[in-house]
Protein backbone atom coordinates (compact mmCIF):
# COMPACT_ATOMS: atom_id res chain seq x y z
CA UNK A 1 0.00 0.00 0.00
CA UNK A 2 1.31 3.41 -0.84
CA UNK A 3 2.14 5.79 1.92
CA UNK A 4 -0.71 8.22 1.35
CA UNK A 5 -3.20 5.39 1.67
CA UNK A 6 -1.66 4.32 4.99
CA UNK A 7 -1.92 7.93 6.07
CA UNK A 8 -5.55 8.06 4.89
CA UNK A 9 -6.37 4.89 6.83
CA UNK A 10 -4.76 6.31 9.93
CA UNK A 11 -6.90 9.44 9.62
CA UNK A 12 -9.89 7.27 8.81
CA UNK A 13 -9.58 5.44 12.11
CA UNK A 14 -9.75 8.72 14.00
CA UNK A 15 -12.61 10.00 11.90
CA UNK A 16 -14.56 6.81 12.45
CA UNK A 17 -13.96 6.98 16.18
CA UNK A 18 -14.95 10.64 16.21
CA UNK A 19 -18.18 9.99 14.34
CA UNK A 20 -19.01 6.97 16.47
CA UNK A 21 -18.26 8.68 19.75
CA UNK A 22 -20.23 11.85 19.12
CA UNK A 23 -23.15 10.13 17.42
CA UNK A 24 -23.41 7.59 20.21
CA UNK A 25 -23.10 10.28 22.84
CA UNK A 26 -25.75 12.58 21.38
CA UNK A 27 -28.08 9.72 20.52
CA UNK A 28 -27.92 8.60 24.16
CA UNK A 29 -28.48 12.10 25.48
CA UNK A 30 -31.68 12.22 23.42
CA UNK A 31 -32.55 8.53 23.13
CA UNK A 32 -32.28 7.62 26.82
CA UNK A 33 -35.00 10.05 27.95
CA UNK A 34 -37.09 9.04 24.94
CA UNK A 35 -36.74 5.38 25.92
CA UNK A 36 -37.69 6.22 29.51
CA UNK A 37 -40.78 8.07 28.30
CA UNK A 38 -41.75 5.19 26.00
CA UNK A 39 -41.39 2.82 28.96
CA UNK A 40 -43.14 4.96 31.55
CA UNK A 41 -46.13 5.93 29.41
CA UNK A 42 -46.92 2.38 28.27
CA UNK A 43 -50.03 0.61 29.51
CA UNK A 44 -49.93 -0.26 33.19
CA UNK A 45 -46.72 1.70 33.82
CA UNK A 46 -46.08 4.54 36.24
CA UNK A 47 -47.01 7.44 33.97
CA UNK A 48 -49.45 5.68 31.68
CA UNK A 49 -50.38 8.04 28.87
CA UNK A 50 -51.75 6.49 25.73
CA UNK A 51 -51.56 9.45 23.33
CA UNK A 52 -47.92 10.23 24.18
CA UNK A 53 -46.97 6.59 23.98
CA UNK A 54 -48.70 6.01 20.64
CA UNK A 55 -47.30 9.16 19.00
CA UNK A 56 -43.71 8.61 20.17
CA UNK A 57 -43.93 4.90 19.43
CA UNK A 58 -45.09 5.58 15.89
CA UNK A 59 -42.34 8.13 15.20
CA UNK A 60 -39.73 5.73 16.55
CA UNK A 61 -41.07 2.88 14.48
CA UNK A 62 -41.09 4.93 11.29
CA UNK A 63 -37.52 6.13 11.82
CA UNK A 64 -36.42 2.63 12.64
CA UNK A 65 -38.00 1.08 9.58
CA UNK A 66 -36.19 3.42 7.17
CA UNK A 67 -33.03 1.87 5.76
CA UNK A 68 -30.14 3.94 7.06
CA UNK A 69 -28.85 4.69 3.58
CA UNK A 70 -32.21 6.26 2.64
CA UNK A 71 -32.26 8.22 5.89
CA UNK A 72 -28.82 9.60 5.05
CA UNK A 73 -30.10 10.99 1.77
CA UNK A 74 -33.41 12.21 3.20
CA UNK A 75 -31.62 14.10 5.95
CA UNK A 76 -29.23 16.01 3.69
CA UNK A 77 -31.16 19.33 3.90
CA UNK A 78 -31.47 18.98 7.66
CA UNK A 79 -27.78 18.17 8.00
CA UNK A 80 -26.88 21.23 5.94
CA UNK A 81 -29.16 23.32 8.15
CA UNK A 82 -27.50 22.06 11.35
CA UNK A 83 -23.83 21.92 10.38
CA UNK A 84 -23.71 24.19 7.35
CA UNK A 85 -22.44 21.37 5.15
CA UNK A 86 -23.69 17.99 4.04
CA UNK A 87 -20.34 16.27 3.56
CA UNK A 88 -17.50 15.42 5.87
CA UNK A 89 -17.08 13.83 9.26
CA UNK A 90 -18.98 16.41 11.30
CA UNK A 91 -21.87 16.42 8.87
CA UNK A 92 -22.13 12.62 9.11
CA UNK A 93 -22.77 12.86 12.82
CA UNK A 94 -26.22 14.34 12.19
CA UNK A 95 -27.80 11.47 10.24
CA UNK A 96 -25.92 8.95 12.37
CA UNK A 97 -27.43 10.45 15.50
CA UNK A 98 -30.93 10.69 14.05
CA UNK A 99 -30.72 7.10 12.84
CA UNK A 100 -29.50 5.81 16.20
CA UNK A 101 -31.89 7.63 18.52
CA UNK A 102 -34.87 5.33 17.86
CA UNK A 103 -32.69 2.25 18.26
CA UNK A 104 -31.36 3.56 21.56
CA UNK A 105 -34.89 4.42 22.68
CA UNK A 106 -36.22 0.92 22.02
CA UNK A 107 -33.17 -0.68 23.60
CA UNK A 108 -33.54 1.45 26.74
CA UNK A 109 -37.25 0.69 26.86
CA UNK A 110 -36.64 -3.04 26.73
CA UNK A 111 -33.92 -2.85 29.41
CA UNK A 112 -36.29 -0.99 31.74
CA UNK A 113 -39.06 -3.51 31.10
CA UNK A 114 -36.83 -6.19 32.63
CA UNK A 115 -36.92 -4.51 36.06
CA UNK A 116 -39.08 -6.57 38.41
CA UNK A 117 -42.52 -5.04 39.09
CA UNK A 118 -41.97 -5.86 42.76
CA UNK A 119 -39.25 -3.21 43.05
CA UNK A 120 -41.56 -0.61 41.56
CA UNK A 121 -44.31 -1.65 43.95
CA UNK A 122 -41.90 -1.36 46.88
CA UNK A 123 -40.92 2.14 45.76
CA UNK A 124 -44.54 3.22 45.43
CA UNK A 125 -45.33 1.76 48.86
CA UNK A 126 -42.44 3.82 50.28
CA UNK A 127 -44.07 6.98 49.00
CA UNK A 128 -41.75 7.56 46.05
CA UNK A 129 -43.17 9.65 43.22
CA UNK A 130 -43.20 8.11 39.72
CA UNK A 131 -40.24 10.23 38.59
CA UNK A 132 -38.27 9.40 41.74
CA UNK A 133 -39.03 5.72 41.23
CA UNK A 134 -37.68 5.86 37.68
CA UNK A 135 -34.49 7.71 38.64
CA UNK A 136 -33.64 5.96 41.89
CA UNK A 137 -35.11 2.49 41.50
CA UNK A 138 -35.70 1.54 37.89
CA UNK A 139 -32.65 3.08 36.19
CA UNK A 140 -30.10 1.79 38.76
CA UNK A 141 -31.64 -1.66 38.68
CA UNK A 142 -31.48 -1.69 34.87
CA UNK A 143 -27.89 -0.37 34.67
CA UNK A 144 -26.13 -3.62 33.70
CA UNK A 145 -28.68 -4.27 30.99
CA UNK A 146 -28.44 -0.64 29.79
CA UNK A 147 -24.66 -0.97 29.50
CA UNK A 148 -24.89 -4.14 27.46
CA UNK A 149 -27.44 -2.44 25.23
CA UNK A 150 -25.07 0.51 25.01
CA UNK A 151 -22.26 -1.67 23.66
CA UNK A 152 -24.57 -3.05 20.99
CA UNK A 153 -25.67 0.46 20.05
CA UNK A 154 -22.14 1.83 19.76
CA UNK A 155 -21.20 -1.09 17.55
CA UNK A 156 -24.26 -0.36 15.40
CA UNK A 157 -23.27 3.32 15.08
CA UNK A 158 -19.80 2.24 13.99
CA UNK A 159 -21.32 0.06 11.30
CA UNK A 160 -23.59 2.89 10.18
CA UNK A 161 -20.66 5.31 10.08
CA UNK A 162 -19.11 3.21 7.34
CA UNK A 163 -22.20 3.87 5.23
CA UNK A 164 -21.81 7.60 5.65
CA UNK A 165 -18.92 7.31 3.18
CA UNK A 166 -21.48 6.88 0.42
CA UNK A 167 -22.70 10.46 0.68
CA UNK A 168 -19.34 12.03 1.35
CA UNK A 169 -18.80 11.32 5.01
CA UNK A 170 -15.30 10.51 6.20
CA UNK A 171 -13.86 7.57 8.07
CA UNK A 172 -12.83 4.05 7.26
CA UNK A 173 -16.05 3.38 5.40
CA UNK A 174 -15.32 6.13 2.93
CA UNK A 175 -11.81 4.79 2.34
CA UNK A 176 -13.08 1.27 1.83
CA UNK A 177 -15.56 2.60 -0.67
CA UNK A 178 -13.24 4.93 -2.58
CA UNK A 179 -10.11 2.82 -2.77
CA UNK A 180 -11.41 -0.62 -2.13
CA UNK A 181 -14.60 -0.55 -4.17
CA UNK A 182 -14.29 2.12 -6.89
CA UNK A 183 -10.59 1.49 -7.55
CA UNK A 184 -10.79 -2.15 -6.71
CA UNK A 185 -7.79 -2.17 -4.41
CA UNK A 186 -8.45 -5.33 -2.52
CA UNK A 187 -5.71 -4.73 0.00
CA UNK A 188 -7.25 -1.45 1.14
CA UNK A 189 -10.69 -3.01 1.24
CA UNK A 190 -9.60 -5.88 3.46
CA UNK A 191 -7.49 -3.69 5.71
CA UNK A 192 -10.33 -1.30 6.43
CA UNK A 193 -12.82 -4.12 6.88
CA UNK A 194 -10.47 -5.86 9.30
CA UNK A 195 -10.01 -2.64 11.24
CA UNK A 196 -13.77 -2.12 11.44
CA UNK A 197 -14.29 -5.69 12.67
CA UNK A 198 -11.60 -5.26 15.32
CA UNK A 199 -13.15 -1.98 16.48
CA UNK A 200 -16.62 -3.51 16.77
CA UNK A 201 -15.20 -6.43 18.72
CA UNK A 202 -13.31 -4.15 21.09
CA UNK A 203 -16.41 -2.06 21.75
CA UNK A 204 -18.54 -5.14 22.35
CA UNK A 205 -15.98 -6.68 24.69
CA UNK A 206 -15.44 -3.45 26.59
CA UNK A 207 -19.20 -2.98 27.01
CA UNK A 208 -19.63 -6.55 28.20
CA UNK A 209 -16.75 -6.14 30.63
CA UNK A 210 -18.09 -2.94 32.16
CA UNK A 211 -21.59 -4.39 32.40
CA UNK A 212 -20.22 -7.43 34.18
CA UNK A 213 -18.22 -5.31 36.59
CA UNK A 214 -21.28 -3.25 37.35
CA UNK A 215 -23.63 -6.19 37.79
CA UNK A 216 -24.10 -7.11 41.42
CA UNK A 217 -25.97 -10.35 40.85
Amino acid sequence: MSEYIVEAIRNGIFETLEMTFFSALISYILGLPLGVVLYATAKGRLLENRPVNVILGTVVNILRSLPFLILLVLLIPFTRFVTGSSIGTVASIVPLTVGTIPIVARMVESSLCEVSPGIIEAATAMGASPVYTIIHFILPEATPSLLLGGAINVATVLGYSAMAGVIGGGGLGAIALQYGYYRYEKEVLWTTVTLLVIMVMLIQEAGGFIAKKKRKI
Partner: protein, 334 residues
Protein backbone atom coordinates in the same frame (compact mmCIF):
# COMPACT_ATOMS: atom_id res chain seq x y z
CA UNK B 1 -57.21 2.10 71.72
CA UNK B 2 -56.92 4.12 68.56
CA UNK B 3 -57.89 2.48 65.34
CA UNK B 4 -55.12 2.48 62.75
CA UNK B 5 -57.22 1.21 59.90
CA UNK B 6 -60.95 1.09 59.46
CA UNK B 7 -62.42 -0.60 56.43
CA UNK B 8 -66.06 0.10 55.70
CA UNK B 9 -67.89 -1.94 53.08
CA UNK B 10 -64.79 -2.23 50.97
CA UNK B 11 -65.18 -3.87 47.59
CA UNK B 12 -62.82 -4.31 44.69
CA UNK B 13 -63.61 -5.47 41.20
CA UNK B 14 -61.02 -6.30 38.58
CA UNK B 15 -61.87 -6.11 34.97
CA UNK B 16 -60.01 -8.37 32.65
CA UNK B 17 -60.93 -8.63 28.97
CA UNK B 18 -64.52 -7.63 29.66
CA UNK B 19 -64.90 -10.13 32.49
CA UNK B 20 -65.42 -8.85 35.97
CA UNK B 21 -63.85 -10.46 38.96
CA UNK B 22 -64.81 -9.52 42.48
CA UNK B 23 -61.64 -9.70 44.53
CA UNK B 24 -63.11 -8.15 47.67
CA UNK B 25 -66.73 -8.24 48.71
CA UNK B 26 -68.07 -5.85 51.33
CA UNK B 27 -65.23 -6.05 53.83
CA UNK B 28 -65.68 -4.42 57.25
CA UNK B 29 -62.70 -4.50 59.50
CA UNK B 30 -60.71 -2.44 61.93
CA UNK B 31 -57.12 -2.79 63.02
CA UNK B 32 -56.05 -1.40 66.35
CA UNK B 33 -52.89 0.38 67.35
CA UNK B 34 -50.13 -1.85 68.65
CA UNK B 35 -51.60 -5.19 67.66
CA UNK B 36 -50.29 -7.83 65.31
CA UNK B 37 -53.18 -8.49 63.00
CA UNK B 38 -53.20 -11.54 60.77
CA UNK B 39 -55.09 -11.86 57.53
CA UNK B 40 -55.23 -15.46 56.41
CA UNK B 41 -56.72 -17.17 53.42
CA UNK B 42 -55.99 -19.61 50.62
CA UNK B 43 -54.20 -18.27 47.57
CA UNK B 44 -56.61 -16.30 45.43
CA UNK B 45 -58.81 -15.50 48.41
CA UNK B 46 -58.13 -11.77 48.05
CA UNK B 47 -55.80 -11.22 50.99
CA UNK B 48 -53.01 -9.63 48.91
CA UNK B 49 -55.55 -7.29 47.35
CA UNK B 50 -56.89 -6.48 50.79
CA UNK B 51 -53.49 -5.51 52.21
CA UNK B 52 -52.82 -3.36 49.15
CA UNK B 53 -55.97 -1.36 49.80
CA UNK B 54 -54.43 -0.36 53.14
CA UNK B 55 -51.72 1.75 51.49
CA UNK B 56 -53.77 2.33 48.38
CA UNK B 57 -51.55 0.39 46.04
CA UNK B 58 -55.00 -0.85 45.06
CA UNK B 59 -57.85 1.57 44.72
CA UNK B 60 -61.17 0.37 46.03
CA UNK B 61 -64.34 0.35 43.95
CA UNK B 62 -66.66 0.78 46.87
CA UNK B 63 -66.47 1.61 50.55
CA UNK B 64 -63.83 3.41 52.53
CA UNK B 65 -60.35 2.65 53.80
CA UNK B 66 -59.53 4.99 56.66
CA UNK B 67 -56.06 5.45 58.10
CA UNK B 68 -56.29 7.13 61.52
CA UNK B 69 -59.72 8.35 60.61
CA UNK B 70 -58.98 9.89 57.21
CA UNK B 71 -60.19 8.27 54.02
CA UNK B 72 -57.22 7.43 51.78
CA UNK B 73 -59.34 8.13 48.71
CA UNK B 74 -59.63 11.81 49.69
CA UNK B 75 -55.89 12.43 49.64
CA UNK B 76 -54.06 14.21 46.86
CA UNK B 77 -51.20 12.23 45.30
CA UNK B 78 -48.57 14.16 47.28
CA UNK B 79 -50.52 13.72 50.53
CA UNK B 80 -50.88 10.03 49.84
CA UNK B 81 -47.11 9.75 49.35
CA UNK B 82 -46.60 11.39 52.73
CA UNK B 83 -49.02 8.99 54.39
CA UNK B 84 -47.11 6.12 52.82
CA UNK B 85 -44.03 7.10 54.82
CA UNK B 86 -46.04 5.94 57.85
CA UNK B 87 -47.18 2.68 56.25
CA UNK B 88 -44.21 0.49 55.44
CA UNK B 89 -44.44 -2.78 53.60
CA UNK B 90 -42.37 -5.93 53.19
CA UNK B 91 -42.91 -8.54 50.53
CA UNK B 92 -42.56 -12.23 49.78
CA UNK B 93 -39.94 -11.48 47.12
CA UNK B 94 -38.09 -8.91 49.32
CA UNK B 95 -38.05 -6.39 46.44
CA UNK B 96 -34.66 -4.89 47.23
CA UNK B 97 -32.76 -2.95 44.60
CA UNK B 98 -30.14 -5.55 43.68
CA UNK B 99 -27.72 -3.07 42.14
CA UNK B 100 -27.52 -1.06 45.37
CA UNK B 101 -25.72 -2.01 48.57
CA UNK B 102 -27.58 -3.02 51.70
CA UNK B 103 -27.15 0.35 53.38
CA UNK B 104 -28.20 2.23 50.23
CA UNK B 105 -31.35 0.15 50.17
CA UNK B 106 -32.09 0.94 53.80
CA UNK B 107 -31.46 4.66 53.24
CA UNK B 108 -33.84 4.85 50.30
CA UNK B 109 -37.06 5.64 52.21
CA UNK B 110 -35.19 8.33 54.18
CA UNK B 111 -34.03 9.89 50.98
CA UNK B 112 -37.59 9.91 49.72
CA UNK B 113 -38.60 11.64 52.96
CA UNK B 114 -35.85 14.22 52.26
CA UNK B 115 -33.83 13.55 55.37
CA UNK B 116 -30.25 14.95 55.19
CA UNK B 117 -27.52 12.56 54.09
CA UNK B 118 -25.66 12.31 57.38
CA UNK B 119 -28.80 11.60 59.34
CA UNK B 120 -29.83 9.02 56.73
CA UNK B 121 -26.65 7.09 57.25
CA UNK B 122 -27.05 7.18 61.01
CA UNK B 123 -30.63 5.93 60.99
CA UNK B 124 -29.86 3.24 58.42
CA UNK B 125 -27.02 1.87 60.53
CA UNK B 126 -29.25 1.84 63.57
CA UNK B 127 -31.94 -0.08 61.66
CA UNK B 128 -29.39 -2.61 60.43
CA UNK B 129 -28.42 -3.10 64.05
CA UNK B 130 -32.03 -3.80 64.95
CA UNK B 131 -32.16 -6.61 62.40
CA UNK B 132 -28.64 -7.80 63.26
CA UNK B 133 -26.98 -7.11 59.91
CA UNK B 134 -24.77 -4.09 60.54
CA UNK B 135 -21.66 -5.94 59.36
CA UNK B 136 -23.32 -6.56 55.98
CA UNK B 137 -23.95 -2.90 55.26
CA UNK B 138 -21.73 -2.74 52.20
CA UNK B 139 -22.74 -6.10 50.79
CA UNK B 140 -25.12 -6.42 47.84
CA UNK B 141 -28.45 -8.20 48.22
CA UNK B 142 -27.45 -10.97 45.82
CA UNK B 143 -24.74 -12.05 48.27
CA UNK B 144 -27.25 -12.51 51.10
CA UNK B 145 -29.47 -15.45 51.98
CA UNK B 146 -33.25 -15.18 51.78
CA UNK B 147 -33.58 -14.62 55.51
CA UNK B 148 -30.92 -11.91 55.45
CA UNK B 149 -32.59 -10.19 52.51
CA UNK B 150 -35.88 -10.13 54.38
CA UNK B 151 -34.04 -8.62 57.35
CA UNK B 152 -32.68 -5.88 55.10
CA UNK B 153 -36.21 -5.31 53.81
CA UNK B 154 -37.42 -5.03 57.41
CA UNK B 155 -34.64 -2.54 58.22
CA UNK B 156 -35.65 -0.55 55.13
CA UNK B 157 -39.30 -0.68 56.20
CA UNK B 158 -38.47 0.55 59.71
CA UNK B 159 -36.18 3.36 58.57
CA UNK B 160 -38.96 5.85 57.90
CA UNK B 161 -40.24 5.31 61.45
CA UNK B 162 -43.64 4.06 60.30
CA UNK B 163 -46.80 3.62 62.33
CA UNK B 164 -47.70 0.36 60.61
CA UNK B 165 -45.82 -2.46 58.95
CA UNK B 166 -47.64 -4.46 56.30
CA UNK B 167 -46.18 -7.90 55.63
CA UNK B 168 -47.31 -9.54 52.41
CA UNK B 169 -46.45 -13.24 52.71
CA UNK B 170 -43.13 -12.08 54.12
CA UNK B 171 -42.06 -15.53 55.30
CA UNK B 172 -43.56 -17.67 52.55
CA UNK B 173 -40.31 -17.92 50.59
CA UNK B 174 -38.30 -18.89 53.67
CA UNK B 175 -37.70 -22.24 55.36
CA UNK B 176 -39.36 -23.01 58.73
CA UNK B 177 -36.32 -22.14 60.85
CA UNK B 178 -35.72 -18.78 59.18
CA UNK B 179 -39.46 -18.12 59.22
CA UNK B 180 -39.44 -18.56 63.00
CA UNK B 181 -36.49 -16.15 63.31
CA UNK B 182 -38.15 -13.51 61.19
CA UNK B 183 -41.41 -13.86 63.13
CA UNK B 184 -39.53 -13.52 66.43
CA UNK B 185 -37.90 -10.37 65.07
CA UNK B 186 -41.28 -8.95 64.05
CA UNK B 187 -42.72 -9.72 67.47
CA UNK B 188 -39.76 -8.02 69.11
CA UNK B 189 -40.18 -4.94 66.92
CA UNK B 190 -43.89 -4.88 67.70
CA UNK B 191 -43.13 -4.87 71.42
CA UNK B 192 -40.13 -2.51 71.47
CA UNK B 193 -41.40 0.07 69.03
CA UNK B 194 -45.14 -0.32 69.65
CA UNK B 195 -45.47 -0.88 65.93
CA UNK B 196 -48.76 -2.11 64.54
CA UNK B 197 -48.15 -5.05 62.22
CA UNK B 198 -50.49 -6.50 59.61
CA UNK B 199 -49.50 -9.94 58.41
CA UNK B 200 -50.84 -11.58 55.29
CA UNK B 201 -50.26 -15.29 55.14
CA UNK B 202 -51.68 -18.60 54.02
CA UNK B 203 -50.04 -20.45 56.91
CA UNK B 204 -51.99 -20.88 60.12
CA UNK B 205 -48.71 -21.53 61.92
CA UNK B 206 -47.62 -17.92 61.31
CA UNK B 207 -50.87 -16.57 62.73
CA UNK B 208 -50.71 -18.90 65.73
CA UNK B 209 -47.18 -17.90 66.49
CA UNK B 210 -47.39 -14.12 66.61
CA UNK B 211 -50.79 -12.66 65.80
CA UNK B 212 -53.14 -11.20 68.41
CA UNK B 213 -56.16 -11.14 66.17
CA UNK B 214 -56.91 -12.73 62.85
CA UNK B 215 -59.25 -12.17 59.93
CA UNK B 216 -60.11 -15.08 57.71
CA UNK B 217 -60.70 -14.30 54.08
CA UNK B 218 -62.28 -16.73 51.68
CA UNK B 219 -63.33 -15.99 48.13
CA UNK B 220 -63.10 -12.22 48.68
CA UNK B 221 -65.31 -12.33 51.78
CA UNK B 222 -64.41 -11.73 55.37
CA UNK B 223 -65.51 -14.97 57.01
CA UNK B 224 -64.45 -14.41 60.56
CA UNK B 225 -62.50 -11.97 62.74
CA UNK B 226 -61.43 -12.52 66.29
CA UNK B 227 -58.71 -13.18 68.77
CA UNK B 228 -56.46 -15.94 67.52
CA UNK B 229 -57.04 -18.01 70.66
CA UNK B 230 -60.77 -17.74 70.29
CA UNK B 231 -60.75 -18.60 66.59
CA UNK B 232 -58.48 -21.54 67.30
CA UNK B 233 -60.63 -22.85 70.16
CA UNK B 234 -63.91 -22.27 68.52
CA UNK B 235 -63.82 -21.55 64.81
CA UNK B 236 -67.22 -20.52 63.54
CA UNK B 237 -66.92 -20.30 59.77
CA UNK B 238 -66.23 -23.16 57.40
CA UNK B 239 -63.09 -21.41 56.14
CA UNK B 240 -61.78 -21.04 59.70
CA UNK B 241 -62.43 -24.70 60.48
CA UNK B 242 -60.60 -25.72 57.37
CA UNK B 243 -57.60 -23.71 58.54
CA UNK B 244 -57.43 -24.75 62.18
CA UNK B 245 -58.61 -28.36 62.08
CA UNK B 246 -55.95 -30.98 61.57
CA UNK B 247 -55.84 -31.57 57.86
CA UNK B 248 -55.34 -35.30 57.74
CA UNK B 249 -57.03 -37.25 60.53
CA UNK B 250 -57.45 -40.99 60.13
CA UNK B 251 -60.63 -42.10 58.45
CA UNK B 252 -63.44 -42.92 60.91
CA UNK B 253 -64.47 -46.57 61.19
CA UNK B 254 -67.88 -45.77 59.72
CA UNK B 255 -68.65 -43.29 56.94
CA UNK B 256 -71.59 -41.72 58.76
CA UNK B 257 -70.05 -41.42 62.26
CA UNK B 258 -70.30 -38.14 64.05
CA UNK B 259 -66.91 -36.47 64.55
CA UNK B 260 -66.06 -33.80 67.07
CA UNK B 261 -62.96 -31.76 67.74
CA UNK B 262 -61.99 -30.93 71.27
CA UNK B 263 -59.48 -28.27 72.25
CA UNK B 264 -57.81 -28.00 75.63
CA UNK B 265 -55.27 -25.50 76.82
CA UNK B 266 -52.09 -26.12 78.76
CA UNK B 267 -53.89 -26.11 82.09
CA UNK B 268 -56.38 -28.82 81.19
CA UNK B 269 -53.65 -30.88 79.61
CA UNK B 270 -52.51 -32.16 82.98
CA UNK B 271 -55.80 -34.01 83.35
CA UNK B 272 -56.20 -37.40 81.68
CA UNK B 273 -59.68 -36.56 80.41
CA UNK B 274 -60.05 -39.40 77.93
CA UNK B 275 -59.30 -41.89 80.70
CA UNK B 276 -61.66 -39.96 82.98
CA UNK B 277 -64.35 -40.15 80.32
CA UNK B 278 -64.14 -43.92 80.19
CA UNK B 279 -63.93 -44.23 83.94
CA UNK B 280 -66.80 -41.92 84.79
CA UNK B 281 -69.24 -42.53 81.95
CA UNK B 282 -68.14 -45.87 80.59
CA UNK B 283 -68.36 -44.45 77.02
CA UNK B 284 -65.56 -44.85 74.52
CA UNK B 285 -64.34 -42.65 71.72
CA UNK B 286 -62.03 -43.31 68.80
CA UNK B 287 -59.14 -40.82 68.48
CA UNK B 288 -58.57 -39.97 64.82
CA UNK B 289 -56.05 -37.21 65.25
CA UNK B 290 -54.28 -35.42 68.06
CA UNK B 291 -51.64 -32.75 68.26
CA UNK B 292 -50.40 -29.84 70.28
CA UNK B 293 -49.81 -26.27 69.19
CA UNK B 294 -48.50 -23.08 70.65
CA UNK B 295 -50.97 -20.27 70.04
CA UNK B 296 -49.80 -16.88 71.19
CA UNK B 297 -47.31 -18.52 73.51
CA UNK B 298 -49.88 -20.77 75.18
CA UNK B 299 -49.84 -24.49 74.57
CA UNK B 300 -53.00 -26.03 73.15
CA UNK B 301 -53.92 -29.59 72.38
CA UNK B 302 -56.57 -30.67 69.95
CA UNK B 303 -58.13 -34.00 69.09
CA UNK B 304 -60.56 -35.20 66.49
CA UNK B 305 -62.76 -37.93 67.97
CA UNK B 306 -65.21 -40.37 66.45
CA UNK B 307 -68.28 -40.79 68.67
CA UNK B 308 -70.33 -43.94 69.17
CA UNK B 309 -73.56 -44.36 67.21
CA UNK B 310 -76.10 -43.83 69.99
CA UNK B 311 -77.30 -40.25 70.22
CA UNK B 312 -77.62 -40.44 74.03
CA UNK B 313 -74.05 -41.64 74.32
CA UNK B 314 -72.92 -38.79 72.11
CA UNK B 315 -74.65 -36.29 74.36
CA UNK B 316 -73.13 -37.81 77.49
CA UNK B 317 -69.66 -37.57 75.96
CA UNK B 318 -69.96 -33.99 74.68
CA UNK B 319 -71.49 -32.86 77.96
CA UNK B 320 -68.64 -34.47 79.84
CA UNK B 321 -66.07 -32.56 77.80
CA UNK B 322 -67.95 -29.28 78.03
CA UNK B 323 -68.22 -29.60 81.79
CA UNK B 324 -64.51 -30.18 81.90
CA UNK B 325 -63.99 -26.79 80.24
CA UNK B 326 -62.92 -28.05 76.82
CA UNK B 327 -64.13 -26.47 73.59
CA UNK B 328 -66.13 -28.90 71.52
CA UNK B 329 -66.96 -28.33 67.88
CA UNK B 330 -68.50 -30.43 65.16
CA UNK B 331 -66.31 -31.66 62.35
CA UNK B 332 -68.15 -31.67 59.08
CA UNK B 333 -66.72 -33.67 56.27
CA UNK B 334 -66.55 -32.32 52.76
Amino acid sequence: MAKVFELENVSKVYENEGKEFEALKDINLSIEEGEIFGIIGMSGAGKSTLVRTLNRLEKVNGGKVKFYGSDLADLKPSELRNVRHSISMIFQGFNLVNQRSVIDNVMQPLRIAKIPRKKRNEIALEMLKVVGLEEKKDAYPARLSGGQRQRVAIARALASNPKVLLCDEATSALDPKITAEILDLLKEINKDRKLTIVIITHEMAVVEKICDRVAIIDDGRLEEVGEVKEVFRNPKSRAARKLVFPSNPFDPSKEESRLIRIVFDGLAASEPFIANLVEKTGKKVNILSANTKSVGGIGYGQMVLELPESVEDQKIITDFFKEGGLSVSEVTRE
